[in-house]
Amino acid sequence: MALLGRIARSTEVYLVGVLLVLSVVLFLLNPKFATLENIFDVLRNNSFLGIVALGELVVLISGGIDVSFTAIATVAQYVMGVLITRYAIESVFLAFLIPIPIGIALGAFNAFLVNRTRVHPVIITISNLNVFYGLLMVISKGKWIYGFPAPFRDFARLKVLTLVSEKGVDYGLSIFTVVWFLVAVVTWLVLRYLPIGRKVYALGGNSEAARRAGFDIFRIQLFVYCYIGFLSGLAGFVHAELNQMIQPNAIVGRELDVLAAAILGGASVFGGAGSPLGVVLGVLFIAFIKNGLILMKASAYWHQVIMGFIIVLAATLSAYQQNLERKRRKGV
């Protein structure tokens, strides 16, 4: 009984409901929305957002925040791009290994500063965003990288489950979507079944209690910032593959999209709450809306208006619901 109560109260159920309603509405507005081809496409195009949002979730749960991940992803993918074009690396797997350690290292730098300076992570990561991105732009002179070796193009076309559309075009569930969902599953496993994952929740729930209990705060912070660093590197790879080119200024600026997805998905800015499922739903929510707008051939400018309106509405409803819950319990 208590379990049912818990399920009824959860953000995820609420989101699934909203998502279903949204899907129905979009389908009615344009039946093309509900075609598998379209859905697969949406999932593919949002896998970058989906992957980093999961990393941001982990940081938010710990009570911190990271806005430098776009710069980390950019640096990681850029180094990869330079290496694969200059040395004509044919192995996608080898290339894939490049951004990961870069992301982790930059994440560790974030963690180190957050811990040693005791300054709010917003400030630290904003500064590092500037440092990472600025230095990259100076060194790279903003040059684009394209012309990847053929294996990379082939890899990008990889699908799990291929179907043929009426027009004879191949489509299917992209490998990148699979990667995204795999990351979601791994994140869920880590957060739920590994002690470090539970410590992340604990730190976010009551940092003073965590300190008193003897938790190694630095190690937890190192974990969360390196985790998002790792995922940023991975996402950088995905982004490069999706676009088949690297434009240094393409990713930076989208920090708030990721934050919005994470927060819509139930992560709290104060820490201690959030789930991978919720974040996936949050990303899907934003993705569906964007897609719906495209299908309706709404002018690109209206995208922002609708997106902003939706975020405000969702946040308002959530805050309203929290207010009611707070009033139900005792307290002013």
């Binding site: 806005v67 500063l113 040693r116 300076t117 005791r118 300054v119 709010h120 917003v122 400030i123 630290i124 904003i126 500064s127 590092n128 965003l129 500037n130 440092v131 990472f132 991105y133 600025g134 230095l135 990259l136 732009m137 100076v138 903003g142 600026g253 708030l256 934050l259 919005a260 927060i263 800015v269 002018s299 690109a300 400018y301 209206w302 995208h303 922002q304 208006v305 609708i306 997106m307 902003g308 309106f309 939706i310 975020i311 405000v312 946040a315 308002t316 959530s318 805050a319 309203y320 929290q322 207010n323 002013v332």
Partner: protein, 316 residues
Amino acid sequence: MKRPRGRRETQSLILAVVVVFLLVLLGILTKGRLLAPDSLQSIAFQLPLLGILTLAQMTPMLTGGIDLSIIATANLCGVVAAIAMTRGNVPPLGAMVFGLAMALSFGVFKGLLIAWVSVPAIIATLGFMIFIRGVSLVLTKGYVIAGFPGSFLFLGNGTLFGIPMPFVVFFLCAVFLFVLLARTRFGTYVYLLGSNPVATLFAGVNNGLVLFATYLLSSFLAGVAGLVMIARFNAAQADYGEYYLLLTVLACVLGGVDPAGGFGRIPGVVVSIAVLQVVATGFNLLGLSSHLASALWGLILLGVIAINRMIGGVET
């Protein structure tokens, strides 16, 4: 009895030392050009934009919140005023009123949600930022609107007794905010609320009204910044200057504003704005790209924080 020097005073001292050090360093590196009259003029023209936007960010941060929508609001105000002047043939004064009215209307909604529905400021202003940017895009269809009457351009390019107009506007805004924060009831309420909203509620302070006014204020100042901006560039667009957002937060924090709320005064913030702008101009003179400049800013802020840690040290 002499009050023991607190942590914040130590930090201001450190900031002052850093400022002097940077100025000297840049002065040397630029071979004195930094202090030349035309550099100073350039600073005086550029500083106000960052300055007014930072002032807009200050009050929300004092209450422990943040306003992510100030740049978008500034742009919107500029766009509305621009459209009024170019397509509507409205005289500049009227156009400015339209622009500010638009900025304030969004401020009303923002304030309502944050003050009375208790939507967390970061998410509410995030949503508004995207929404307002969208509105601007719809209005401009992505184009730049240009060609304003000369009388209006004076606001951005003229001088008053040799002082650039933008700087005069910034100065007026700084004085206005100073008086508001240091010499009115509202100011006292803001600092108290930022430090402990539960206690202020019990003491009979109208928390909702104070927060509402805070976000109205940030919207208004953002609007003013927008007007100065389009007057200076003789052009309005929907998404100019987005990178400024993080800079305003940086400038506030560097100037002594505690992101958790309750602390921070105008003089410190003004100095911090000046420092950032002088450094930026110095970088310009040295021919550094804007990217290198922003990287260096990041490093400077981290450096100041690190020094603070080492010297100032423990929380009182």
